[in-house]
């Protein structure tokens, strides 16, 4: 083991992580114990990723890492070294129209306080990137990985069904 190996460093020594976030190369220096969620928020200022339970239950912190929806509170920032991360800020630039999923969420009143919303939107983005023609049962199963205290989920289910039709996207492999 080389002395440069992260495993043999003192646990608190900061480590520099290089990754791509929302298509831009990014570097951040964090304690090894820092979660990806905290690092995105505190180091890169991407506060759209919200932290609500810090144990992977609620889904509010969901982002895409190399195309997979992951809970950013359960992944250490150092584990994301070399990956491509997409957060809610990366779905549509501020000067662009809303992403079709985001548009469907507002059209169907799929959000109220908006705290769980970014994580949900990222999970739906991952779902619909891989699947076309989802039915309500499948939508409810996927959405049940997220906790929303405001909406009762009905608007969310409607929004996902609608975005499935309106988001013009390549046909995925359906394995999602």
């Amino acid at each position: 083991m080389s002395p440069d190996d992260p495993l043999v460093r003192r646990a608190a020594d900061p480590i520099t992580v290089a990754l791509t976030v929302n298509d831009r190369p990014s570097r951040m220096t964090v304690e090894p114990r820092t979660s990806l969620a905290d690092a995105l928020r505190d180091e890169l200022g991407l506060t759209g990723t919200h932290v609500a339970c810090e144990q992977g239950v609620c889904g509010a912190c969901t982002v895409e890492v190399d195309g997979e929806a992951v809970r950013a509170c359960l992944l250490l920032a150092v584990q994301a070294d070399g990956t491509e991360v997409r957060t809610v800020e990366g779905l549509a630039a501020p000067d662009e129209p809303l992403h079709p999923i985001q548009q469907a969420f507002t059209d169907h009143h799929a959000l109220q306080c908006g705290f769980c919303t970014p994580g949900l939107v990222m999970t739906v983005h991952h779902l619909l990137a891989e699947r076309h023609g989802v039915d309500d049962g499948e939508i409810r199963t996927v959405v049940s990985g997220h906790l929303c205290r405001c909406t009762g989920y009905q608007g969310i289910v409607d929004a996902v069904r609608h975005a499935d039709r309106t988001w013009d996207r390549p046909i995925g492999d359906g394995s999602g």
């Binding site: 501020p94 306080c113 049940s144």
Partner: protein, 774 residues
Amino acid sequence: MIVVRDADANSSLGARLPRFEDGRLLRGRGRFTADTPPPRCLHVAFVRSPHPHALIEDIDVTGARSASGVVSVLTAADLPHASLVDACTVPGLVKTPQPALAGERVRFVGEAVAMVLAESRALAEDAAERVEVRYTALPPVVDPEAALLLPPLDPALSSNEVYRGRRATPGLEAAFAAADHVVSGTFTTGRLTAAPMEGRACSATFDPVADTLTVRCSTQSPHLLQRKIATCLGMDVAAVRVLVDDVGGGFGQKIPASPEEIAVALAARAAGRPVLWVEDRRENLVAGPHGKAQRVELALALDGDGTFRALRCDVLGDAGAYSFNSASALIEAYLAAGLLPGAYRIPETGWQVRSVLTTKVPIAPYRGVGWTSGHTARELLIDRAARLLGRDPVDLRRQNLVRPADLPYTTPTGMTYDSGSHLATLERAAKLVDAANVVPGPTADGRYRGFGISPYVEPSGWGSAGAAESSWSFASHDSVRVEMAASGAVTAVVGTPSQGQGHTTTLAQIVASVLTCDPRRVRVVTGDTAGTPLSTAGTRASRVATVIGGALLHATERLAAKLALVAGHLLDADPADISFRDGRAVAPSGSVGLAEIATAAVVDPAVRAALPEPDLTATAFYDPPATYSNGCVAVVVEVDPGTGRVDVVDAAVVEDCGTVINPMIVDGQTLGAFAQGVGAALYEDAGYGADGSPHATSFTDYLLPTARCLPRIALEHLESPAPHTRGGIKGMGESAMIATPGAVACAVAAAVAPLGITVTHTPIHPHELVATEE
């Protein structure tokens, strides 16, 4: 008058308008308290009691003070301050002052005893583990009945009973004596917690030059918090500024000032650097205030034909460790008793209310407050009566509900239902779930089906009159300001922040309805006590639409009158002949647009010469009369007798909140409250063990409903405009949370009745529904 609403109206009032706030929230550009830490801020980790009840003998902070990144470690001894006290004025309620940090005694697991200020939250948590607190454990007080016999939690009190009151109509006893049937039962509602997705969060910055404190907080009541902080810190109210932007859900939990928020304010003043506290989920579950936790003993007297004659109750409320600030211990038990008759004609009622201290987190408002507990108990009892009398549960309710001819109807508890559609909503809800064809009991596939129906009344739009009808004193002093800029853009400034209710949109719709302009031209500004008119109560009690909405109608009409003066000058018309249409002031001689009027008012010397004060600002104050929403929730459930699993397989909510401002928002409030009601009935439990330890410390213990727990819910809106409030508006945010737990509990009770199982409390746990072999 009941109006069935068409899908969309042309006026901005009643339009299903998507929310203006959605875009930024969907782009991840919301601004929650944790998103804007003050520059150079210190991060807080609280040291919390592991004991339900103990004396604090000693706190040794030396190890923590020397830990990496730590700037300060503070205990009660370091932070002298005035304790938090509830403002409830109900006579006989004992006050239980609560310090920001416990100094001598802890009274629940999770009570804060010290706070670490460090350069990061992680470092603060590291150091918090090194604070050594020596306790002498005292017996926990868990069971509310036993609490009456145990030594008081506060040596200054004579008993753990902080309130006992009773009231009865004169004919109560005679009605029971003459009754053909008396049905009784005791029902309990478990401890719940609001569990907003964003927990509590607060930052504070002290300015030693100006001697002012700026606080940013996830709160429903910025002006209330401002006053509490000023009182506790011995500052002038005007020297405290509270800011609030986005709030990730509140549901009542963020009405009171939290002891932690007072501690943060004290620490910022003591430390000389800004301080930020963002609670984690465990803190929110074990130290954020809880809700419900009532035992309701009921007896209903009926005639032989099923007519309700009298209802009496004995409510025992578990207040937790303190009668919590702002709403007090009575927010549950007292309000449960006040709404005892619900939507029914019951001529005689009587109640006894007791509230006791226990070694648990204090009870604070949670959506539906005490109304949920009383309502759930009453509906379960009515179903029990229906089974006893062999009556259909819908028909027995139909017989006893308030009828259109009874309105306005005054209950024996002193509430006057101003209007409503009590029978019509019952009929529609029953029809939407096809109640007539739901056969209770076993199904072909071995499950047990049951139907529950729960017609409700929600006391709404609390100003002083509405509060008085609930026998409550309530500081509700609400003003608003409406301004028009030279461009014609309108700003509405209000003191009530939104926690997801969409005020930026709905309040703009109200203002736009007067000016006949596009609601997008109206900017709603809130969330800064330095710049918004006073709202002492803040956002709670389903009051914003009624109180703030009414005030905005007043203020905008005053603005419109000023615009008419200017327009009259520009059009050479009598201002009395001016009306507004499509965003223009219209006179017989012609018309002029709002922007043109506004520009003229600001820059045209001729206007100035003709009108001494062409000032386009208007304020208004509004304290509405009492008003009552109503509606009905109906559900069908299926119970698996092998596992006790309950599935809600069909559901409908028919609601009537008078004039609807935005039906999409009403749908959202109804659906969200329905889901919370299902959680209250079947999943959520913030209970304590016999040793006083909390059972729910994470989201794997405190189970919120997910999308898989709910069917598609049918919604309908009937409209009985309030005859006496501005615009006919009533409040509705809590309605479905009042009625849904009762509907679900009644449905489960009906399903398992053939198995000999009775339902007497919520949440209903699966193991209680498993059929056992005799």
